[in-house]
Each structure stands twice: as structure tokens, then as C-alpha cells.
């Protein structure tokens, strides 16, 4: 059987786009874990709330795909910013209300707390928008929704579909990832976060406000989750209260796969899972006709088990001194 390159490239684009989204969410898991060693299971729902707020903002403005381009771009950016601030506020509040009080409690206490917040946020979302899937008001003009950039702009005779929304995912995600890397590596707060991650007591003795630094980690995680929520809303063209579960689970897995607590690991894990996801959902079927998306979870977690067995600290999890 010949290898279908066009199909492979289509899946690759879809895998990388999904991977970018997962990476953004995974960073939230890994930043928080790096500092307080807590798996914030509510993080998927923080992402979902970002999508819901973005939906609300876009719907409230009444701007749709038929309005002038500058208005569309403006609304898109406002919704993106709004979603980021909203998710950051939720993440910050959860830490302030619950996790901070449980810093010295047994580890299971904040973990259960996180699961509790996950359900609470999901129910709030159901109360807010109902249990049905919601489609956002169209912002991308209909001519461009299925516009194949490779064919239209470059005149290529190809079935590989690169759509404006795919490009938008990368255009928003990549700068955010670079910005975060710069922030952690080069700013004073970033350095404080790295120090706190290594040794909280020593950091406190050196004059670092540990609680404030931890809160900053939650805020950054929330900002990234909110951005991912807004992007996912328009990438999938749908939002629902349960959307945080699958993305959250994959993002958490990505963080573990790359090496929990390690920023580069989370990004690598995110893209890797996005890739495996797309290949399992689509490419494998070319060779095993009975294959389908229902096997994808098993494949992803199967690979996770194998990697954990041979590399318990994840793919690039050894650099613990660099963890945040």
C-alpha cells in the first residue's frame, strides 16, 4: 500500500493545531505543579470557562463575519484578552480560596479540592449556557472558512488543506509560548518562580514572597488556559461545559509525558499528543480499516505507560533545576 502524503500532511496540520492548544493548557498544569507540586485538576474547566466568556463577549458585541475586517479583528482580540483575564482570575481565586489554605495539608487534600472545583466550574457553565453545545457567532467571513491558503495564495494543486483558522491557531499560540519562556527566564518574577520551585523555604529566606509567587503561577496558567479556550472556541466552532475534560486530560498527560514541572517538556508533550491524536484518529485507519477515534485514548495512554516505564521522569524531565 502506498503512503498517502497528502492525507498525512492534512493530519499533521490538524495534529499540530490541536497540539498547540494542548501545549497551552499543559503549561498551566506544569507551571503550577512545578511550584506547589499540585495537579490542578480544575485547569481543564478554567480553559472551558475562557471559551464561554469569549463566546459571551463576541455575542454581546453583535459583530459577525459580515462586518468590516478591523471590527472582526478587534472583537477577536478583545474576546481573547477577556478570556485570558477571566480564566486567570478564576485560577487565582481558586488558589486564594482553597489551595493556599491547604499548603501544609496532606497532598490529597488540595487534590480532592481541585477535583471538586472541576465539577463546580462545570455545573456553573451548565447553569450559564445550558448543557447543549453552543456555536459561536461566525467571525471568519464565509468565503474564508474553507479557504485553502495553499491553493488560493500559492496556486498549488493539492488536497492539503491549510485554512485561516489553522494559521490563526499558530499565530496566537507560538508567540504566547515564546513570551512565557522569556518571562520565566528573564524577568525578576520569573526568576522568583524558578527559585520558589526549587526550594520554597530558601526562597522565603532570600526575601521572595512565596505566596505571591505561587499566585503568579496560577495567574499565568489561567492566562494561557483562557487563550487556549478562545482559540478552541473558533477552531472547533463549538463550546460545551464538558470540553475541558478531554482537553484537560490530554494536556495533563502531555505535561507528564514531557516531564511534569518542565516547560519545554509540556510543549513537546502537547505537540506529541496532538500528533498521535491526529494520526490515530485518521492515518491508522488507512492501514487498519476497523480503526477509529475510539482507540485514540488507548493509544495515547498506552504510549504514556511505555514512556513512564522507561523514563519515569518524562521525556525531558531530568532538568529539575530548571523546572517551574
Amino acid at each position: 500500500m502506498h503512503f498517502n502524503y497528502e492525507l498525512f500532511l492534512n493530519y499533521l496540520i490538524q495534529g499540530l493545531a490541536n497540539g498547540a492548544l494542548i501545549a497551552l493548557i499543559a503549561l498551566g498544569y506544569t507551571i503550577v505543579y512545578g511550584i506547589v507540586e499540585l495537579i490542578n485538576f480544575a485547569h481543564g474547566e478554567v480553559f472551558m470557562m475562557g471559551a464561554f466568556l469569549a463566546f459571551t463577549i463576541v455575542a454581546a458585541t453583535g459583530i459577525t463575519s459580515t462586518d468590516p475586517l478591523y471590527q472582526i479583528v478587534g472583537v477577536f482580540l478583545i474576546a481573547l484578552l477577556g478570556a485570558m483575564i477571566f480564566s486567570a482570575a478564576i485560577n487565582f481565586s481558586i488558589d486564594r480560596v482553597a489551595y493556599r489554605r491547604l499548603r501544609s495539608a496532606p497532598r490529597l487534600a488540595p487534590l480532592i479540592c481541585a477535583i471538586g472545583f472541576s465539577f463546580i466550574l462545570q455545573q456553573i457553565a451548565i447553569y450559564w449556557k445550558g448543557p447543549v453545545s453552543i456555536s459561536p457567532p461566525p467571525l471568519i467571513p464565509s468565503d474564508y472558512r474553507t479557504y485553502n491558503i495553499l491553493t488560493e495564495l500559492f496556486g498549488l494543486e493539492t488536497k492539503v488543506r491549510l485554512k485561516p483558522i489553522d494559521v490563526a491557531v499558530f499565530v496566537i499560540t507560538i508567540p504566547l509560548l515564546l513570551l512565557l519562556t522569556w518571562f520565566i527566564r528573564s524577568t525578576r518574577t520569573g526568576k522568583a518562580m524558578r527559585a520558589t520551585a526549587q526550594d520554597q523555604q530558601a526562597s522565603a529566606l532570600m526575601g521572595i514572597d512565596v505566596n505571591r509567587t505561587i499566585s503568579t503561577a496560577f495567574v499565568i496558567g489561567g492566562l494561557l488556559a483562557g487563550a487556549a479556550g478562545m482559540i478552541a472556541l473558533y477552531y472547533n466552532n463549538i463550546a460545551r461545559a464538558q470540553m475541558g475534560f478531554r482537553y484537560g486530560l490530554f494536556a495533563f498527560t502531555a505535561a507528564v509525558l514531557g516531564g511534569i514541572g518542565n516547560l519545554s517538556g509540556a510543549v513537546l508533550g502537547g505537540f506529541l499528543i496532538g500528533f498521535i491524536w491526529a494520526m490515530s484518529d485518521g492515518m491508522v485507519k488507512e492501514y487498519i480499516p476497523s480503526w477509529g477515534a475510539q482507540w485514540t485514548n488507548s493509544v495515547i495512554f498506552g504510549i504514556l505507560v511505555i514512556i513512564m516505564v522507561f523514563r519515569p521522569s518524562g521525556l525531558i524531565g531530568e532538568h529539575t533545576t530548571e523546572k517551574v
Binding site: Y11, Q14, P131, V132, S133, P138, T146, I238, Q242, A293
Partner: protein
């Protein structure tokens, strides 16, 4: 003896099985005095004609006399189908339609007050779809209620599979307005499981009926339309992995192949995904000229259509089963829904309005109540309730077996759709009309009957 005779004759008179002249002859033959006969006729005159029926409620049994008499007590009728989330519109409209039927008949029949209670078997966590625990709970609630005589439901065939045996063991009649999976009543080669339908009737006595045509008719009609009228030759078949979705998709697939068409692939999609771009890319690569989807709306079906339109042009037609013949599906898919074809076992409300008569009256009045055009299946919900009311009227007793027998024996039922139907020995309707609609300007518009 004479007392029994006159009671039986009066019951026949109430239910319009005999006319007043015949009643007089038979009563005289039974040795009753002219005075008693006169009294009985006078009572009949005041009781039998004291509910004025709107045109929609004149359907069903020819000449059925509605009565507001409630002297014998109370009979409860439960219904169970999903009422929340994505099923809020379809389920909610069906409840309003059923309640309208009871109201039209004065909430009385056979000398009993009729109390209708709608139960929800959907859960928010399941997108509003049914949940096995709730289905069981509702069925048990009904059988344990001594006043309950009939169970209306379910909407989904998968939940019907759970409810039927529970009600069967309690000898309670169950009548569905929307179950279409063939295996609930008959065995169809290639489309039903081994042991069906007997496995659902542990007592060996049939207690289940449905007023809508089953999927061996719908799936087949869809395949013939695609192959013959649309000249489609390469189909890709998807289903939502539900009992119903798989069933109707299998019938479509088998018929399409028998006609000479090629099935490029058939699979059950994973309903929990946030997008189906990968699946649709894979399908588009195979080059189908039609995509068939057997699914209900709560199983993320709108997203399937949305993502299909993202990668496939309008030359590839979309044909969906009746579980998608609702505005929730159309709204969910937004602009991508336009042009989609959807089958339905019967006529949709827009067609009934065009036909006028009882069906038109039903649509007009229920639209006023709802504030929107009713869901297509609400028509059958109304008919189901009327069939139940009239069966109770004919039985004239609060005995589950007697009411089951009367309901099962429903024949020549004048339908809102403008023809008559009867239940066969399996509890299936002999109505085999399959309508075909198309989504135009984000509204479902009836096009033609294809069976």
C-alpha cells in the same frame, strides 16, 4: 345477568360501537323495560357528548364519544423521554403535544379522570441524552403506581430496550411515539441482534407498540432515494454508536449495496470529540458522493455535519435519519445545515399545515401553545396520547390487561397525517410513509414522500 347486559350495552353505546337504535333493540331483547332503556339513552346523551372535540382530536377511532365522566376514579399515564439539554426542544414539544391531547379530551375517558405525568430520562452530563439508571427508575415508578395503566415512551430505541422488559413483567402497556429500531418488535436479517425481539418480552406477551414506521422502512427508503433519484453510487455511512443509529445506518447500507451502490466505509463515530476534522479528512479522501448519518441530535451529530462541510463541497450530499429532523440539529450545525437532506417517518409540521384538516388544526394550535413550530415527532406524541385515551375509553376499566388489549387492538386509526393505520401482531404500525425534508434557510422544509 340483566345488569351485566345493560352495563355492557351502555359501554358499547358510549364508545360508539353501536348506535342508539341498535342499543334499543338489544336492550329490549334482554328484557329491559322501555323506562330503563329511556333512562340509559338519556344518560348517554348527557355523558357521551359533553366534551366538544377540536378537529385534531376527532382522529383515531371513528365516532369515539368523549366523556367528561370521572365517576370511576383516577387513571395515571406516565411518559418518559429526555427533556433537557439538546433534547429540551424535541422532548418538551412532545410533552406539550401529549398534554394537549389529554386536555382536548377533558382529561377524562372511560369514566376515569386521566392524570398525565411526564418523566425526564435525560441527564445534563450526557448532553441531555437518556441515561440507563433514569430509564429504569422511571419504568419502576410507573409499575409501582397502582393507578398507572399506560407508559408512553420512550424516544430513544436504546432506552426502550431497557424499559420494555420492566413494563412487560408488570403487564403494563407501553407505547412509543419515536422508537424506530426494528429489533424492538421484529427480527430483521442483518439489522437486528440475535434473540431480538423475544428477549424484551420475558412474559411472552407483547405489551409494546409504536406509532411511527420502523427503520427497516426508513433506512431502505433513504437508500433507494439516494441511489435512484439522486443517482448516488458511492456512500460513506456513519452512525452514533447507538442502537437506533446503528440500526438505521445498517439498513441504509444493506439496501444501498443491494441496489448496486458501493459502500466506501461505515463506522460508528466517537460522540465525545470536540471536532471531527480528522474523520472528515479521511472520508473526503475516499471520494464519496453521499454521506449518510444515522444518529440522534444529542450525540454531537451537528458537529459531524459542520466538519463535513468544512472539507467536502456541496456536490457531496448529506442524508440524515429522523433523529436529526429537528431544529436543535439545524441550529447546532448553523450555516452548514443548509442543503442537508433528512428523512422522517411521516409528514413534518409544514406539510401538515399544507394538508390542513385535523393535522393542520393540530399544528396551528400547538404552535400557539409553544410559540414556535413544533418538533416533527410531537405529531406522533399527540396521536399516541389519543390512542391511549380512546383505548381507556373502550376498556372502561382500570385493569392493565384490559387496557393493553384495547390499545394493542387499535385499528383503522384516523391519523393526523390524513390516512388510517392499525397495529399489527408485533405492535408495529402499518403506516409506512417516509417523508424527505431539506434544510433551506436554516429551516426544515418538507420536499416529498419517498415511501
Amino acid at each position: 345477568m340483566a345488569k351485566d347486559s345493560i352495563a355492557g350495552l351502555v359501554a358499547q353505546l358510549y364508545n360508539a360501537k353501536i348506535n342508539r337504535r341498535e342499543f334499543g333493540k338489544r336492550a329490549a331483547a334482554a328484557g329491559l323495560s322501555a323506562g330503563l332503556i329511556g333512562q340509559a339513552l338519556a344518560v348517554h346523551a348527557t355523558r357521551a357528548q359533553d366534551v366538544e372535540l377540536p378537529p385534531a382530536a376527532t382522529i383515531g377511532q371513528e365516532g369515539f364519544a368523549a366523556s367528561s365522566d370521572t365517576s370511576k376514579g383516577t387513571i395515571k399515564i406516565y411518559s418518559s423521554w429526555p427533556l433537557t439539554g439538546t433534547m429540551e426542544l424535541t422532548g418538551g414539544d412532545a410533552v406539550v403535544a401529549a398534554q394537549m391531547a389529554f386536555d382536548d379530551f377533558g382529561n377524562a375517558s372511560g369514566g376515569y379522570e386521566l392524570v398525565y405525568e411526564a418523566l425526564d430520562e435525560g441527564v445534563a452530563a450526557n448532553n441531555g441524552g437518556w441515561e440507563a439508571g433514569k430509564v429504569t427508575e422511571n419504568a419502576n415508578k410507573a409499575i409501582n403506581d397502582a393507578e398507572a395503566m399506560v407508559y408512553m415512551g420512550t424516544y430513544n430505541s436504546g432506552s426502550g430496550k431497557i424499559a420494555i422488559p420492566i413494563l412487560n413483567q408488570a403487564g403494563m402497556a407501553m407505547i412509543s411515539f419515536a422508537n424506530t429500531y426494528p429489533g424492538l418488535t421484529v427480527a430483521v436479517e442483518g439489522a437486528t441482534e440475535e434473540g431480538e425481539p423475544e428477549v424484551y418480552y420475558p412474559t411472552g406477551v407483547r405489551n409494546y407498540m409504536r406509532v411511527c414506521p420502523a427503520d427497516q422502512i426508513q433506512g431502505g427508503a433513504g437508500a433507494r432515494w439516494a441511489y435512484e433519484a439522486q443517482e448516488r453510487r458511492m456512500a460513506y455511512v456513519l452512525d452514533d454508536n447507538s442502537l437506533y443509529g446503528k440500526g438505521v445506518a445498517t439498513v441504509f447500507r444493506n439496501t444501498f449495496e443491494e441496489l448496486g451502490g458501493e459502500i466506501l466505509g461505515a463506522e460508528s463515530y466517537e460522540k465525545s470529540l470536540d471536532n471531527y476534522q480528522t474523520l472528515m479528512t479521511s472520508i473526503a479522501d475516499k471520494g464519496p458522493d453521499i454521506v449518510y448519518l444515522g444518529a440522534t441530535v444529542e450525540n454531537n451529530a451537528a458537529k459531524i455535519l459542520q466538519d463535513m462541510r468544512g472539507v467536502m463541497g456541496e456536490e457531496v450530499i448529506f442524508l440524515g435519519s429522523d433523529g436529526l429532523n429537528n431544529q436543535t440539529f439545524v441550529d447546532g450545525a448553523a450555516d452548514a445545515a443548509n442543503g442537508a437532506w433528512i428523512t422522517f417517518g411521516g409528514y413534518t409540521p409544514d406539510k401538515l399545515l399544507e394538508l390542513g384538516g385535523a393535522g393542520g388544526d393540530y399544528v396551528t394550535r400547538v404552535t400557539e401553545k409553544l410559540g414556535h413550530s413544533p418538533d416533527a415527532y410531537s405529531v406522533y406524541s399527540y396521536e399516541t396520547a389519543v390512542a391511549v385515551i380512546q383505548a381507556i375509553g373502550r376498556a372502561g376499566t382500570n385493569d392493565r390487561t384490559a387496557i393493553l388489549d384495547e390499545l394493542f387492538g387499535t385499528e383503522n386509526f384516523n391519523s393526523l397525517l390524513g390516512f388510517t393505520w392499525s397495529f399489527n401482531e408485533n405492535g408495529d404500525t402499518d403506516n409506512s410513509v417516509i417523508g424527505l425534508s431539506q434544510v433551506i434557510d436554516n429551516q426544515i422544509a418538507f420536499q416529498e414522500a419517498i415511501s
